[in-house]
């Protein structure tokens, strides 16, 4: 398959903006906290009053990506931009609120994973091909793979892959999982802008074996589930961005790898 090229990447984590903000050791930097929250980005306007936090974070990630590209919103608006979204648990907070509040107050459509890319599509006027993948790092890698198929089929001129994970509202529920992983849960939102490239892309998957930890990323970043591959990508380009690129990740016994060869992931801008 023809590989997409990276035009821009926006990464926001509870550590700060971009891979450059990551600590050397997440566990030490967390100072005993099991969950590190990003809070709620501030966007003005009545429309945002009822928009859940995970949706606003998705919008902020795309704005960070646009800043990285030094591009305006008009450059991605319209029918020729695909939007692919990935998340493992980004919907859990809204679902919990809806379940526990009874019939009062909660706004049901926002409880589905579809709400995050929907709000992003509305905000930026994205009207092209569309997909939502659920799971950890493999979901993001599958979304990147599908973006490549859409680009290769010329169903779009550019594809945005977005991932958002939040934990604060369900910190008590996630506590057991956090202890099991040995890493703090770190909220994150990331977006990449992909365009048709020259190299080749291969998707590999297999079951069994330990969950991969590419470059010891979780020691630096903490646990970010679907956002992990985007952080790895940001670190890779910050490190010189030469040669081939391999993004990998595991979730629930499945390991997925995306391997770029040839003119791989050309970097046109960097926030790192």
């Amino acid at each position: 398959m023809r590989a997409p090229v990276l035009r821009a990447l926006g990464l926001l984590t509870a550590w700060g903006r971009g891979a450059g903000a990551l600590p050397v050791d997440a566990l030490t930097a967390a100072e005993g906290r099991g969950v590190l929250s990003m809070g709620r980005p501030s966007y003005e306007g009545d429309r945002f009053r009822r928009v859940p936090r995970e949706c606003v974070l998705g919008i902020a990630a795309v704005d960070a990506m646009l800043e990285d590209a030094r591009a305006g919103r008009a450059e991605i608006a319209g029918e020729r931009t695909a939007l692919l979204y990935a998340s493992a648990v980004g919907y859990a907070a809204s679902n919990r609120i809806f379940i526990e509040r009874g019939n009062a107050g909660a706004y049901f459509p926002y409880t589905a994973p579809a709400s995050v890319p929907a709000e992003v599509a509305i905000e930026f006027g994205l009207r092209g091909p569309y997909g939502i993948f659920i799971g950890g790092p493999p979901a993001t890698l599958q979304a990147i793979w599908w973006a490549a198929t859409l680009l290769e089929a010329r169903q779009c001129d550019r594809a945005l892959v977005l991932a958002v994970e939040i934990f604060e509202e369900c910190a008590d529920l996630f506590a057991v999982g956090a202890r099991l992983t040995g890493h703090p849960l770190v909220e994150a939102a990331g977006a990449v802008w992909l365009e048709p490239g020259e190299g080749t892309l291969a998707l590999e998957s297999h079951r069994g074996g330990a969950r991969p930890d590419p470059g010891g990323i979780r020691q630096r970043l903490g646990e970010t589930f679907a956002c992990e591959p985007l952080a790895v990508w940001d670190l890779w380009r910050g490190g010189g961005a030469g040669g081939s690129l391999c993004l990998g990740g595991g979730w629930r016994g499945e390991t997925v790898r995306l391997l770029w060869t040839g003119a791989a992931a050309r970097v046109e801008a960097s926030t790192s």
Partner: protein
């Protein structure tokens, strides 16, 4: 000119409110059987609407004890049992590392989350993740290839089939079990009830008295293979798939249906077909005032005069809106219409809306043998997806 390799749909398996198994599903559709009934499985007395397409008893399969308690998983395994029988065996023939599972759902295992939070049985929370039923089904099938969950709201089933087809086209799998599911639970009933999307009357797509939808539950699976690997017996083929975002509103379709139009045009272009090639349309047809008018207008825009000459139906009055399963059930219905030479009717359509002026097959089943069909889907958040299907030889 066709832009994509066609993908064979080799077998199917379904569990629905109008019967378990493809044959029972089909005979109920053509005889106009309704699966709508009072909901009995969970409390609904506080809700405005208390009916839906509830499956009263999930048919047990041979190793039922090994299937997790999760209702969504049980529906899926029951549907997969039929699919495997049709395909010849479980595990499915071939290298298990090359068998993928791609499922669409609007709700995933959310009922497990409801139960966990209500009873504080937090160990069940893992089952509440939206990809849990996919992982459970992959395990039950012995499939060790990619296990992918997509969740484009009520277009999820169509997205799953599209992603599954691309896995085959890209050589990432040799067989794909693709499909969709969702169950009725308090979570979704409360949500739609609060939105006032549910009707207290009959579901009446394209009727001037239509007042909304009712929900249903189902699981529907198809086995996809590359044409060269599929043999001669098959339900049919997937010729094309298209998706598009409205970028308009979180819970309402774009009033001109431009997103739906783009998804149809993309799917037709991928399939390499023209309006004159389309014999039948399975509409999303939810019976909400806006949806049915928009779909009608879009079909006329895309198909031109052909839209007025071909049958268009909605099977949601029989099943309720089965969310993640809807597009898959509707796609299977298109292929069965080709096989049996009949188009199931749109139930409860008695007083046509002047704004909805296509041939919606009111009354009873229609004798017709469509070759190429379109199946359209729309979902919350502005998700639109279209499948182009061709009837088979099996």
């Amino acid at each position: 000119m066709r832009r994509s390799e066609r993908i064979a749909i080799v077998a199917a398996g379904v569990v629905t409110p109008i019967g378990r198994g493809v044959d029972a599903f089909w005979s109920s559709l053509v005889t106009g059987t309704s699966g709508i009934s009072p909901i009995e499985r969970f409390p609904v007395s506080d809700l405005r609407v208390r009916r839906g397409g509830e499956i009263k008893k999930i048919p047990r399969i041979k190793d039922w004890g090994r299937v997790p308690e999760c209702r969504a998983t049980r529906l899926l395994c029951s549907a997969a049992d039929e699919l495997c029988s049709e395909a010849g065996s479980r595990p499915l023939p071939g290298n298990p590392d090359r068998v993928a599972v791609v499922l669409g759902t609007a709700l995933g295992g959310v009922e497990e989350g409801e139960k966990a939070l209500a009873g504080k049985r937090l160990q069940r929370l893992r089952g509440a993740l939206y990809d849990s039923p996919t992982q459970n089904l992959a395990r039950w099938l012995g499939a060790r290839g990619p296990a992918i969950t997509v969740s484009t709201a009520c277009a999820s089933g169509a997205t799953a089939i599209g992603v599954g087809a691309d896995l085959l086209r890209q050589g990432r799998a040799d067989a794909v079990v693709a499909g969709g599911y969702d169950i009725l639970c308090r979570f979704v009933m409360r949500g739609f009830d609060a939105l006032r999307s549910l009707t207290r009357e009959e579901i009446r797509p394209f009727d001037r008295r239509r007042s909304g939808l009712l929900l249903g539950e189902a699981a529907a699976l198809v086995l996809l293979r590359r044409e060269t690997d599929a043999g001669t017996r098959r339900l049919g083929s997937l010729l094309g798939h298209g998706s598009a975002s409205d970028g308009w509103h979180i819970a309402a379709p774009e009033p001109d249906g431009r997103g739906l139009e783009r998804s149809i045009r993309t799917a037709m272009e991928e399939a390499g077909i023209e309006p004159r090639d389309v014999d039948f349309v399975s509409a999303h047809g939810t019976a909400t005032p806006l949806n049915d008018r928009i779909e009608t207008a879009v079909l006329k825009r895309v198909l031109g005069p052909r839209a007025l000459a071909i049958p268009v139906n909605s099977i949601k009055p029989a099943l309720g809106h089965t969310m993640g399963a809807a597009a898959v059930l509707e796609g299977i219905m298109c292929l069965l219409a080709s096989r049996h030479g009949q188009i199931p009717p749109t139930l409860n359509l008695e007083e046509p809306d002047p704004d909805c002026d296509l041939d919606y097959v009111p009354g009873g089943a229609r004798a017709a043998r469509p070759t190429i069909s379109l199946s359209t889907s729309l979902g919350f958040g502005g998700c639109n997806a279209t499948l182009v299907l061709e009837g088979g030889t099996g």
